[in-house]
Every structure is written in structure tokens, then in C-alpha cells.
């Protein structure tokens, strides 16, 4: 819905930007299109959703062994279906970088227009992504960053540090009058940079209101590990005021452990934003009072941006006539008051 209103709003700006746009597209691979470009582009830039030049997009992501990852692929496919001018080629999800590299090579052989790539390992997929860019294919990097600026045209990222900040700020607001409050944290896989970023943001936000993380345990993003970590935490801390759990998938286990313990003196803040958790928040009779979103729509946004890039359209609502280099998504706090707004993009785990 916002996309449509956005497109109307930008119509005027885009009109002004036509000349600049025509000039700026000279770096795109297909020369014959920029010859007769100016007129159709003016229309296109104003109404981004209108069918344009046919775009073939290759998509590859890690294996869907986690609710969030499964949602990424589902949302991406659903988004591609909305556009009659987009043909999405989805490669089998895999955690084998050797196979994922070969998938990208296949896309290059197929001469797709764009590749939306959520690499299992950003560094390992960098060489082949660079090769795709050199072959004139628009690469959109999603979630896990390549280690070279030449490997992608645009990168879409979540905000792990921001998740921690949002969760910490929310807990601060809820516990404002309790200076000696006990705040616990259930992290994800501890050695991953994303977990470290989340914890850092959380710590900083809590410090801002004079709180600290009293107890911290780490799980492994799975239900089973969440249950184990939470059970240990509840043993270690006899009284808790607030818990932030990094991940809603492991959160299923966390909530099970809490239920088994029969404890009710605290509230829980989730992470990632699964539909389950949002339903709990909405019902209001759960200890889960809020969750912080790590958008599972990144792949879907990747498809949209890839389409815009190939069709040489501008991103609506920006004065800038080129699609930005990096798009970092926001990590909002979902509570009972605003849960309906985020429900449509929540993922089923």
C-alpha cells in the first residue's frame, strides 16, 4: 500500500529527474535500451509498479533450516509473483558454499538480468558475485555482506545492533522506576558477529537508563537450545524483571521452559518477529509483551530493487534518481498497540 502512495508522491520529483536519470543510466549494461530510454523512463520512474521491461531474476539463499530463513524465500517468491514482468528463478536452498557458487554460475550462464543473493557465507560467495557483476548482471546482496564493494550493486541489510538498542530502550521504558531491576538476556549463537552486535546494542541502550544485563546465556537459534538455555537461566536467577530473547524461533523453547518453571514475575521481549510471537503479544495474556523485528522481507525487497535497477527506475520517495548502494532496514519494537501494523510481514516459524 505504501508503495502505491509513494509512487504518486514521487511522480513530480521523478518528472524533474528524467533528464538526470537518462544521463545516469549510461553505466547500465544494455546499450540499446538507453537509446530510446528517456520517454518510457519518465513514466516508469513515476509509476514503479506498472509492468515494464521483462526482468529475469535468479535467487539463491541458504537452506531453510530456520523459520526466518524459510520466510525469506517464501516472501521473495510471493513478491516476484506480484509483478507480471518479473520471472524469478529460485535455486535450491543450501548450506554448501560450493553448491551455492555453482548456482550463481548457472545464473550467469542463463544470462539472467539480476541476481538476488543471500549468501551462506558472504566472503565465500564474493568471487562469484564479482564475476556476475563483471558479466553485466545486477547483483543485489541480502543480509550477509560480501567483502568487496565490486561484488554487488546494492546491499540490503537488517540492523542487528539496532535490534539490541530497540529491545534495550523498550525495557528501559517499562522498568523506568526500578533502578535495581534484574535484566536477563538469551542470546543466539555467541560467536556470530550478528549476536555480538545485538548484545552490544542491548548493553548500550540499557546503560543509557542505568540498567545492566545481570544474567546472560546463549542458545543456538533452535527451539531445543532455547529451552535448555532458558531453563538454566531461570535456575541461575531466582528473580527477574525482564528478559530479552534474541530470536523468536528459539523463543518457542524459551517460553516452554518459562511455562514449565511456573514463573510469572517478569516480561519477555522477543527478537526477529515471528507470527506466533505477534499473536501472543496481541492476545495480551502471555509474558511476551513485545518483540523486535529483524525483517524477513529482505529478499522480497531485493527482488523489488533488482527489478527497479534492471528497468532503470528510481526508488520512489527519494529525490536521488539511482537506487541507493545500501539499504539498512529498521528494527522496530512491536507491542500490543502496533502489532496489527507488523502482522502482515511476520513470518510463520
Amino acid at each position: 500500500m505504501s508503495a502505491r502512495t509513494r509512487t504518486f508522491a514521487t511522480a513530480a520529483i521523478a518528472g524533474l529527474g528524467v533528464l538526470a536519470l537518462a544521463a545516469c543510466t549510461s553505466n547500465t549494461p544494455k546499450a540499446e535500451e538507453s537509446d530510446n530510454a528517456p520517454a518510457p523512463q519518465a513514466v516508469a520512474a513515476g509509476k514503479n509498479d506498472e509492468p515494464g521491461q521483462k526482468v529475469r531474476i535468479g535467487f539463491s539463499a541458504p537452506a531453510a533450516d530456520h523459520g526466518w530463513m524459510g520466510a525469506i524465500t517464501k516472501a521473495t517468491q510471493a513478491e516476484a509473483k506480484k509483478y507480471s514482468d518479473v520471472e524469478l528463478i529460485v535455486a535450491e536452498g543450501t548450506n554448501d558454499v560450493n553448491l551455492q557458487i555453482s548456482q550463481v554460475e548457472t545464473f550467469i550462464n542463463q544470462k539472467v538480468d539480476a541476481i538476488v543473493l543471500l549468501p551462506f557465507d558472504g566472503a565465500a560467495l564474493t568471487p562469484v558475485a564479482t564475476k556476475a557483476m563483471e558479466a553485466g548482471i545486477t547483483v543485489v546482496n541480502v543480509d550477509r555482506e560480501f567483502d568487496s564493494p565490486f561484488a554487488a550493486r546494492t546491499t540490503i541489510l537488517g540492523d542487528n545492533h539496532g535490534m539490541g538498542v530497540s529491545a534495550g530502550t523498550y525495557i528501559c521504558q517499562q522498568l523506568k522506576d526500578k533502578k535495581d531491576a534484574v535484566v536477563a538476556e538469551i542470546a543466539g549463537i555467541d560467536s556470530l558477529p550478528l549476536t555480538q552486535d545485538r548484545s552490544k546494542g542491548f548493553k548500550e541502550a540499557l546503560a543509557d537508563c542505568g540498567l545492566k544485563v545481570s544474567n546472560r546465556v546463549a542458545a543456538e537459534f533452535t527451539v531445543e537450545s532455547g529451552e535448555k538455555a532458558a531453563a538454566n537461566l531461570l535456575q541461575a536467577a531466582p528473580k527477574i524483571d525482564a528478559i530479552w530473547n534474541h530470536d523468536d524461533d528459539q523463543g518457542v523453547g524459551v517460553m516452554a521452559a518459562i511455562k514449565n518453571s511456573g514463573r510469572k514475575e517478569f516480561f519477555v521481549v522477543g527478537g526477529a518477529g515471528s507470527a506466533n510471537v505477534m499473536r501472543d503479544i496481541k492476545s495480551g495474556n502471555s509474558l511476551l509483551k513485545a518483540t523486535v523485528i529483524y525483517p524477513s522481507t529482505q529478499g522480497a525487497d531485493g527482488v523489488r530493487l533488482a527489478r527497479l535497477l534492471v528497468q532503470k527506475k528510481a526508488l520512489g520517495d527519494l529525490v536521488e534518481v539511482e537506487v541507493p548502494r545500501t539499504v539498512q532496514l529498521y528494527a522496530p519494537v512491536v507491542t500490543k498497540d502496533n502489532v496489527d501494523q507488523y502482522m502482515p510481514t511476520a513470518f510463520e516459524s
Binding site: E92, D96, V97, S102, T106, K111, A123, L125, S191
Partner: protein, 348 residues
């Protein structure tokens, strides 16, 4: 020599290499046919796959670039599978291949190793990977041959331990290779064929010669077929078993080097589930899981069938879950096809 007479498989696989069966050796005609039959099933399966590929995605499938894409993907898992063929033919199993690939890749890309490599020569990274792989194989072999631990358990332990050690060494971070000469050499091409594919061809050829044309190979068949008989025939079964696992480890070291070149990284997550891919390729190829019969050519076909399958799926944009179902079905079909053809060939 009794062992030689008893070990028919070498002859069998040798004859399949020649493709045309000479009608001379009357005694073993049936066996030779069965050998041809087994590989014929694989050829039929691969040709069928290729026909499907050409029909459904001809414009991209039947191109040189696509063939190279398939071969590059096949190369890494192919080298692992060659090593696996030896272990399985010798009556064992190695579940730790993926973990050994990961450990070798991590060890060969540590800061210290890379420093040494950039100061002197990238050959140090290669040697490190090979030594680490072979050393893991040695541990496997010693545990199995002298410690009398069942291969399944010993290599399962190695699977856990090697990946764990890889995680400790790398701190679960991806180690990027900064030695450009290494990446340039292994990422390059020779006579239009990627170096990785050359390595696969070399390893396969060396493996074929070793299994079918040397005493080592004949002993492998003997040990796998009946280790007690092999012992009575004077073969040092324990020492031979150790050698087989070292060979598998060495192949993992080579595969690690190849994967490092392909990804320009070393990581504890490399080589996930390679043990299953390799075992599947070996068994589809016609090597008996119980040992005593093995074929390198079959394994190469097995690997090619898997990777071609994958390529055809990707080219045709098939749904992710349907791909897995089809994969399982094709494994069964390939094996059934082999058995039927082999049976028909023997009954003639």
C-alpha cells in the same frame, strides 16, 4: 596367486574402461558383461538427464559454459568421493570427510600459514591442507585398524572432533585468503579447462590406476571382500586399512584446497554433509557398501549424475521441496536400473 584369482573386480572394472568387451576371455564373459551393464546403467541415467536438460533448457544447458559449471561443482565432491571409493571398497566407511575438508581448509588459511605462504610460496597452504587431511585419516585408520573401533563410530567421532577443532581454530569466523597467487593459480584455467577440473581428472585417473592396476588395489579388493582370507593370504590387513583411511584424508585435503580456491576462504562450515553426497555417489556408482567391489569410473559417473541433476533443477526453476523428492527418486531409479541391466547382462 590366489588373491589375484579371487579378486575378480579389477578385471571387471578394467574391462569397462575399455568399453568394448573383447570376446576372447570366455570364462569371465558374464562378469565382464555385468561390469559393462553396471556402468551402462549409469551412462543411460546420465544421458537421460542430459536429454531432459537439453529439452527443457537447451539454450543454456548445452553450452560450454554450463558444462564447465557442472564440472567445477563436481570437482570438489568428486575428489572426496574418489577417496571414499577406496575406503568403502576396503570394507570401511568414512563419515568424517566433510569435517576433514573443513578442518584442512581452516588450518591452511590461518594467519600464520598465510603469512608463510605470502612470504615464500602458496605451496605451503597446499601442503598444510594435505598434511592435516592425511593426519586426520591416519587417526581414523589407527583407531579402526589397531584400536578395533568400528569404522562407523571412529569416523563419527572424527566428524564431531574435526569440525569442533575447525571451529576453535577459526573462532567460527570465515578466514579470507589474501594470498593472491594461490587464488590465481587454482582459480585459473589450463587449455580452457579450469584447474579444479584438471585436479579432479588427475585424482580420478590416479585413483583408477591405483585401484585397478597395482598390488595396492588388488589388496584393497581382497581386504574389503574378506579380510580374514586376505590376512591368511599374507596381506597386512591392519596396515592396509590405515593406508586406505590416510588416502581418504588426503583426498579431503585436496578437496579443501579446491574449495579454498573456489571460495577464497577457509571456514569451519565448509564441506557440510559431504559424507552423504560422497557415499551416495559411490554407491550409485556401483561400489558395494559391504566392500570387496568398487569402481572409480562408476563413482565419477555417480558424482556427475548428482551435479547434472542439480544443474537441470536450477535451470528449470523447480520448487525447492520438489527438488529433494526428485533427488531421492532418482537415486532409487539409478540403482534399480543398474541392477536390472546387470542382471540381464549376466543371464545372457
Amino acid at each position: 596367486m590366489t588373491v589375484e584369482d579371487g579378486a575378480r573386480p579389477p578385471e571387471q572394472t578394467a574391462s569397462t574402461q575399455a568399453t568394448v568387451t573383447p570376446p576372447a576371455a570366455q570364462r569371465s564373459t558374464g562378469l565382464m558383461h555385468s561390469g559393462v551393464g553396471r556402468n551402462l546403467g549409469l551412462v543411460v541415467a546420465l544421458v537421460l538427464l542430459c536429454i531432459v536438460g537439453v529439452i527443457t533448457a537447451g539454450h543454456t544447458f548445452a553450452t560450454g559454459a554450463n558444462v564447465l559449471t557442472i564440472l567445477r561443482l563436481a570437482a570438489v565432491i568428486g575428489v572426496v568421493s574418489i577417496g571414499m571409493t577406496f575406503v568403502i571398497t576396503g570394507g570401511g566407511i568414512d563419515l568424517s570427510v566433510g569435517a576433514m575438508v573443513a578442518l584442512a581448509s581452516v588450518w591452511a588459511t590461518t594467519l600464520a600459514t598465510q603469512q608463510l605462504a605470502s612470504d615464500l610460496h602458496w605451496i605451503f597452504m597446499v601442503t598444510t591442507a594435505l598434511v592435516v587431511g592425511a593426519a586426520c585419516g591416519l587417526v581414523n585408520g589407527l583407531l579402526i585398524a589397531y584400536g578395533k573401533v568400528v569404522p562407523f563410530i571412529a569416523t563419527l567421532a572424527m566428524l564431531a572432533a574435526a569440525r569442533g577443532l575447525a571451529e576453535i581454530i577459526s573462532d567460527r569466523k570465515t578466514q579470507i585468503i589474501t594470498v593472491n597467487s594461490f587464488v590465481d593459480f587454482f582459480g585459473g584455467s589450463l587449455l580452457g579447462v579450469p584447474v579444479l577440473v584438471w585436479i579432479f581428472l588427475l585424482v580420478a585417473a590416479a585413483g583408477w590406476v591405483l585401484l585397478n592396476r597395482t598390488t595396492f588395489g588388488r589388496r584393497t579388493f581382497a581386504v574389503g571382500g574378506n579380510s580374514e582370507a586376505a590376512r591368511l593370504a599374507g596381506i597386512k590387513v591392519q596396515r592396509h586399512t590405515v593406508a586406505l583411511y590416510v588416502l581418504a584424508g588426503l583426498c579431503c585435503g585436496i578437496a579443501a584446497v579446491m574449495l579454498m580456491a573456489r571460495t577464497t576462504t577457509g571456514s569451519s562450515t565448509h564441506g557440510q554433509l559431504y559424507e552423504l553426497d560422497a557415499i551416495a555417489a559411490v554407491v550409485i556408482g556401483g561400489t558395494l557398501l559391504s566392500g570387496g567391489r568398487g569402481t572409480i569410473v562408476g563413482t565419477v559417473f555417480g558424482v556427475l549424475i548428482f551435479t547434472t541433476l542439480n544443474n537441470v533443477f536450477t535451470l528449470n526453476n523447480l520448487s525447492i521441496s520438489a527438488q529433494s523428492v526428485a533427488k531421492g527418486a532418482i537415486i532409487v531409479i539409478a540403482v534399480l536400473l543398474q541392477q536390472r541391466l546387470a542382471a540381464r547382462a549376466t543371464s545372457q
